[in-house]
Each structure stands twice: as C-alpha cells, then as structure tokens.
Symmetry: D2
Subunit: 277 residues, 4 copies
C-alpha cells in the first residue's frame, strides 16, 4: 500500500447556545479522515486498531457538548488533537467542517431572540490537518452567488478559427465565488477574517470595473491580502455563470442588451492563488 | 386519448431593467403547457397544428423584451393570452413561472446601483391557467427555510405499540415553508400580496408558541387571510426538518437539550388549505 | 379549513428475503399521508388524535417485518388498510412507494446468490389511496432514460415569426420516460404488468419510426393497452432531452449530423393519457 | 501571483458513429484548464493572450468531428496536444473527460442497431495533464453502486467510551465505488483496462468474504494490479452506504436481521492507494 485513510463524512450537528438575551444556533457537517497504523485492517481484516467510523460520529457529538463552537476552525483543531491524543495509532487527523449559515429574523428593526432564516446554499468551511508536530488550517467560503448588470467588459482576446464569441463592452457578470485561505499565524480571530474576506469579495465585485474575470479575481485577492494581515495565501475560484444575449432581431425586434439566457453549462472557470511575495 | 398536452419547460430568462438611478434584474424560469387540437400529431405524426416547443421558447424571449415584468403573474397572464390569441388550435395555455430572487448589495448603508447577491434556494412562483373564458392564478413561494431554537412543544399524541417518540415541551422547530394562494379578485398588487404573505409566515413562525406544526400552520393561514383581503385561499405545506436530540448519557455526559442531529429523511409533512368560509 | 393532511415522507426500508438458493433485496421509500379527524391539532394544538409521524415510520418497519413485499402495490394497500383499521379518526390513507431497483450480479453466466448492482436512477412507483369504501391504485415508473441515434423526424410544424427551428428528417431522440397506470380489476399480477409495460416502452421506442414525440407516445400507450388487459388507463410523459446539432461550418468543417450538444434545459415536455374508449 | 489557471467546464458532447451494421453513441462532458502566460489578464485586464473559454468549447466540437473518440483517454490527449501546439502561451493543458454510459437495447436476444438505455449515474472518467515534455493520465470510474446481503463482518474494532456500534458477523455491505488508476506505459488499450478493472471490482465485491471495507478494498486493488499489468497505481474509495438494522423488539417483534434503514449520511469513507512495490 502506498496510502490509506478512512473516516466518517457528513456528521451533521446542531447546537443551541443559550445566552441570557438570545439563542445562537450552529449547524455543521463534519468530515473526519484518519491516517496511521491501520494496515492490518486492510491486509488481514484485523480491526483491533480501527476506531469505528461510528465512534468518530459519537466523538463529534460528545466533544461538541462541552465546546463553545465559537468558530469552526477551533472545533476542527480540537477534534484533530483529540484523535491524536486518544489513539496512538493515529498519525494524522484531517477534519473538514462545513457550516450552514443562519441569519437572525428581524422584526420591527429588532433582532429576534431565537428565530432564524437560512442563508441558502452559501457555506463557510475549514479543513484542518493535524499531526503530532504540526497543524495546517485552510478555511474558506463557498457558493457566494453574486451578479452585476454592468461594469464588466471582455474583449481583445485571441481571435482565430475557433473564435465565435463577440467582443463586449457591457455584459452581465454573474458567479458563485469560492475562496480558500491559509493563515500567517496561530493567533487569529477566525470569525473576523471570514467576515472581512466575505465583505471584501462583495465590495470588489460591486465596485471594480472588470475587464476580465481574471482581473476582478486579482483585485479581490490583492485587497484581501491588504485588509487581512492574518491571511498568508488566498485562492479564489469563480465559475462564469454565463448570461447569453438573445438575438431578438430574429423576431423582428431590436437588441438592447436587456434579454439574456442564463445557462448552467458549459461554464468558464477562472482561479487565482496569491500570497505575500 | 383522454388527455394530451405538451410544451416547453425551464425556459430561463434574465432581463435587465435600466432605471435612471438603478438597475433591476429579473430572473425567471418559464414552463408552458398547451392543450388543444393536437390529436393529429399524436395519431398520425401530422405536426401541421403543432407550435414547436422551440418556438414557445422564442416567444418567451420576444414577449419579455417589450413587457415590464413587474410581476410574474402579469407576465404569465400575458403569455397565456398570447398563445390563445395567436393560435386557434390552443384551447388552454398553462404558464408556470419560478422566479430566482436577488437582493441588492448594500455598501455603507446604501443600496448599490447594479450589484446583487443571490437569495439562495428560495423561489417565488405562479401558475396561470388561461382559456378563452377564464384565467386562474395560483401563486406561491418555496423553500423559505426557517428554524427556531425554542417555543415549540409536541406532546399528548396517540401512544400505542408503534410509538417510541418522547413527549417534548421544548424542541427545535425547523422547516422549509411552501405556500400557495389564489386571489379573490382580478385587481391585485401581486408584489404586495407576495411580500405580505412572506412576512406574515416569518412573523408567525417567530412569535407563535407552537404546540404542533399543524397549529402553527393554522395560525399562519388565518393571519394571512386576515392581512390579505386579496387572497381567496391559502395552502401551506411544511416538512418537519427534524433535529433529533443526541443521547449524550451514553458517553457519560448530561443531556441539556443542546446537541442535535439534523436529518433530511424521513421527514414529517404537514399541510393545510384555508379559505374564507 | 378546507383541507388538511399530514404524514411521514421518505421512510426508507431495506429488506433481505433469504430464499434457500438466493437472497432477494427490496429497497423502498414510503410516504404516508393521512386525512381525517385531526382538526383539533390545527385549531387548538390538541394532539390527542394525532398519530405521530414518527409512529408511522415505526409502523412501516414493523409491518414490513411480517409482509412478503412481493410487490409495492400489495404493501402499500396493506399499510393503508392498517391505518384505517387501527385508527378510527383516519378517513383516508394515501401511501406512496418508490422502489430502488437492483439487478443481480452475473458471473460466468450465472446469477450471484447475494450480490447486486444498482439500476441507477430508474424507479418503480405506486400511489395507493384507501378509504373504508374504496382503494385506488396508480402505479408507475420513472427515469427510464433511453436514446436512439436515428429513426426520428420532426417537420411540418407551425412556421411563423417565432419559429427558428429547422425541419429535420433525422434527429437524435432521447428522453427520460415516466409512465403511470391504473388497473381495470383488483386481481392483478402487479409485477407482470410493470415488467410488460417497461418492456413495451423500450420496444416501441427502439422500433417505431417517429414523426413526433407525440406520435411515439401514442403508439406506446396504445400498445400497452393492447398488451396489458389489466391496465385501465395509461399516462406517459416524456421530456425531450434535446441534442442540438453543432454548426461545424463556422470552423470550416462539414456538418455530417454527427456532433451534438446535449442540453438539460429548456426541454420539451409531452404527455398523453389513454384509456379504453 | 503564486498560481493561476482558467478554462471551460462541462462542455457536453454527443457523437454518433455510424458503422454499417450499427450506430455507436458517445457522450462526454469535457473540462479544460490551461496554465501559462496569462498574467496580463489578471494584472491589467489585457486579454491579448487569452483563449476565450467559449473558443475552447468550439475547439472541443471541431476536434471531435474528425476524431474517432475510441476512448476518452485518446481524445483528452489529443485536446491537450492541440492547445500546446496551437498556443505558445500555454504551458500546461489539463483535460478532464467524464463519459455518460449507454447500453444497447436487446430485443429477442439481439442487440439493437441504434437504440440505447442509460446506465444511470455510473461514469467513466479521465484526467490528462499535458506539457511540452510530459503527459500524465489518471483514469477512473465513479458511482458503481453495489450491494450484497451477506458475507460481510465487522468486529474486533476499538471499544471505548465513544463506542456504541455492536460487533456484527453478518451485515449488508453497500457502497458506491470510485476508482482511479495510472498507467505503467504509453501503449495501452484503455478500453480493455477499464472493462477489466470494472469487472474485477464487481467480482471481488461479490465473492470476497469481507472482514472490513478496508480489507475488501485491498483485495480489489491487489487483484486489479495482478489482472492489469498496464496499471501502475490504483486508488479505490468506498463510502460505506450504511443499512442500519431496525430494532423490532420495541414493537414486540423478533429481530431476524432482515429489516434495515438505508441512510445517506453520515457515511464511512475508506480509501486505499496501491502500486507495484
């Protein structure tokens, strides 16, 4: 064997945190993968060193009970350390957490004590790899879906026998942003960084006059590195969720750049990774 | 043949509406089904009366170009009337529209001119059935996902040999609300009704002390009929998106009603239809 | 209230049936909806007549233990009768079953004793509505995905200012067939009817020279009524899973009707219902 | 920038290959990612070296027209070489192909000339990374869903305060196999290797008496290396699609290891990579 690993995926968890003035709710899906001295299970079906994936699931619930769950990064680290301490046969513990996001109901301008509306498909994520010598954290966000109706151009690209796309000075720009970042230090307010990165992505998307999805990504990444000294590297990936102009002249109408077909596939996919040089 | 119908589904459409001070964006998926004198296509493969579904798609784009798209109900009616007027062989036109929802980006407390964030999976819908004598409109919303951490009880239900569920005085209540409504008149501000119904559902969900999902639905439906005289009937359907308490005593811990497993299936499904008696 | 109903959805169940020479496996998802005297739960939160949806789930498991599960129709009827007999407050029980399909592994031409490969997304279904006076059964199949590369034409349809589709004498015909049928009598070999209908759909699809999806559906429906005297009515619904020819002349190549783009949306949707006149 | 790449994803393609005695159909989804001298687009919005992702899509169609598409590996290599030869600014071309699978309709024991039934969700895949100096091919299959009703044990695992799972000598074993393999040489019959690996996975699954998912994976991987000298490394990943025994004693019934609940989450996930030592 060159490699083996195993674990439990999609351990879903809801925790209510009851503050005097309000309830918080946290919803996570946790994936665990362990590497270590598990060869006998593969080679002989001898499971004496195997921590059952069912027990991993139980561990998530038991440990969540006494953990504040302030941020997913902290809980993922805590889980990783637990597996390393508890089981000598574990060499590396990888913990992935995806957080479902809820926003508090607002009534008459006041935040409600205990009622929430889902934020939809957008997720906050972290991947924490822990060994006895090291911890690596890669946090992120997914499915931040944004659209703008103007301030986006695309022209001057290679034009050859495979090119049918027209140059455009004014197109719709729609995408579902994914971002991942690593940290420059171990003392980080993970929630602040997440909120700042999310806000920066939206602000740059809204205000930057785009000549290419590539360019917008670079401005986003550069601005995140500027705004967040805690961030070591930032990766941004953006599918181009195309809105294709409909040619209305076929029906005797004028094209005024108003009517488009959204298509799911095929889609352009553009990514960047930036660090501090 | 007892019945036949055909049409085009998932005709997706984006329209930019350029106001002097801001852009609006509308995104719809339109489904069309026509009934009428189409038997020859079924019986003989004679398509001389068949409006190709591809032409229906083109029609949606052409008609959207010169229509304000103020509300999906208006556009669905307009499409239905078009098919009836244009093609004598059409007896009934059913038009279904699902609207993808976008919220305007807010920066420094100000709404952005042309940038939007997706509202996620929640949709606004309408189904309009038109004949030469009648129009029936059934509008709705889907996937309004809400959760509250308390103020929900469930007890006193039938207890017999198939019952293992414990009575509870304090449970999580989470659901993905679907609602559908018909209209008492033809002169309606469809956008106002939609907004009022959506807000009423959230407000009742947040503030009603629930003894059963059934009871909450009834309060919602009654309140909607009270708030919206334009509404003739209201149907609400709510899956019970269960959060199952984890029994932590198995791990030597105390149960404090804080740790739950969200499960997608099986799920309870509770519905009500109310009208004005 | 004009109407109310509630129940449990997606009660999933696997049963192993151990024959001397082989194992069978059955996998169902059961949905139950009950109507009856449940108004007090809606109006007052009084659940004394409410059979908890959790108890419905338990009932499915308990009843499946001693039932042969020969066909989904039989088990759905049995469940419906159970709820009516057991609970006086139930007026109507609707039971929907979706069956996941498995095919036996074949090794060296011999069927394996206990190993199976999934049939993919295709499902067999039934919907059984039971009252104290009547039983109505509507069975079906879903997601039978078929494609043929020729023997499909479409031309002669209405040509006007909204028409851009070209006539074609040779197109790809691909669809995901859904069918539903009711029964002429109460003494039926449900498995035989299901198998015969499925085979007839495939045979007609493969051998009929199609001038329209509509025509193919009619031939299928007529042939099913002919082959299956047990069937009272048959409904077939077929999305047209379009393969759009790519215009290769743009790239200096010849169009030979060989290269196509499969698109998921928009799609044509054509349906028929036939009975015995 | 530390890294950037861009391309087109989900370029879907259907090709009919008309042999004298039968038609073949090929359906692929192609993803392309290019790396190279694209910094100016990111840094300045200067797209003069950018091959538009729309042009990549056109390229796929144009090149498929004159390519036999014998295997996805061959077409992915061909596409990769094309981008490297055609555009000096491209340093690396990554091409991913996912093949949708169709089986020929059989009527009266004879294979049909041009009609097919979908194989469902199972896919064949390849990922080919090409530079001017090297080609790396990683092929695979996904969603091969199998189940066996016996011949699977799991016991003797770590038992501590987080363990609630019972030992079992007879459980259902169900999984959705993913496999990926690299090649030992450049002269390979890719279709033969794929077919042999797929068959070996099914055969081992059916016949191996399993003491752990881990052990089954190891037997599969070892057997594949033995059967396929063309294979350099093999990775297998298997989610444990749990069937949880229902405790029927709660309802006064006996547990006979016959009734189970299939659950989608959480799920165990077990993987192995083997090469030739």
């Amino acid at each position: 064997m060159q490699h083996n690993a195993y674990g439990k995926s999609r351990v879903r968890l809801t925790k209510i945190i009851r503050h005097p003035d309000r309830h918080d709710v946290k919803e996570f899906a946790v994936d665990i993968q362990l590497e270590g001295d598990f060869d006998d299970s593969y080679l002989k079906g001898d499971n004496s060193k195997v921590v059952a994936t069912d027990s991993m699931k139980n561990t998530v619930y038991a440990l969540a009970a006494d953990h504040p769950l302030t941020d997913i990064e902290g809980f993922a680290r805590f889980l990783g350390q637990h597996f390393l301490k508890k089981y000598a046969q574990v060499r590396e513990a990888m913990v992935f957490i995806t957080e479902d996001l809820w926003q508090r109901v607002v009534m008459d301008g006041k935040e409600h004590h205990h009622a929430f509306v889902s934020c939809g498909g957008e997720k906050r994520t972290t991947a924490v790899g822990s060994t006895r010598d090291s911890v690596e954290i890669d946090s992120g966000l997914e499915q931040l879906v944004v659209l703008k109706t103007t301030d986006s151009e695309f022209h001057g690209f290679v034009r050859d026998e495979y090119t049918t796309l027209a140059d455009t000075k004014d197109r719709i720009f729609a995408t579902s942003v994914s971002a991942n970042w690593t940290f420059a230090s171990d003392k980080v307010d993970y929630n602040r960084v997440y909120a700042k990165i999310r806000q920066t992505i939206i602000d740059v998307f809204a205000t930057h006059h785009s000549l290419a999805v590539q360019q917008t990504e670079h401005v986003m990444a550069a601005e995140i590195l500027k705004q967040c000294p805690e961030v070591k590297t930032i990766t941004i990936s953006m599918p181009n969720q195309h809105r294709i102009p409909v040619d209305l002249t076929k029906f005797g109408l004028q094209n005024r750049n108003e009517i488009f077909v959204p298509i799911d596939e095929p889609y352009g996919l553009i990514s960047i990774t930036m660090g501090r040089e």
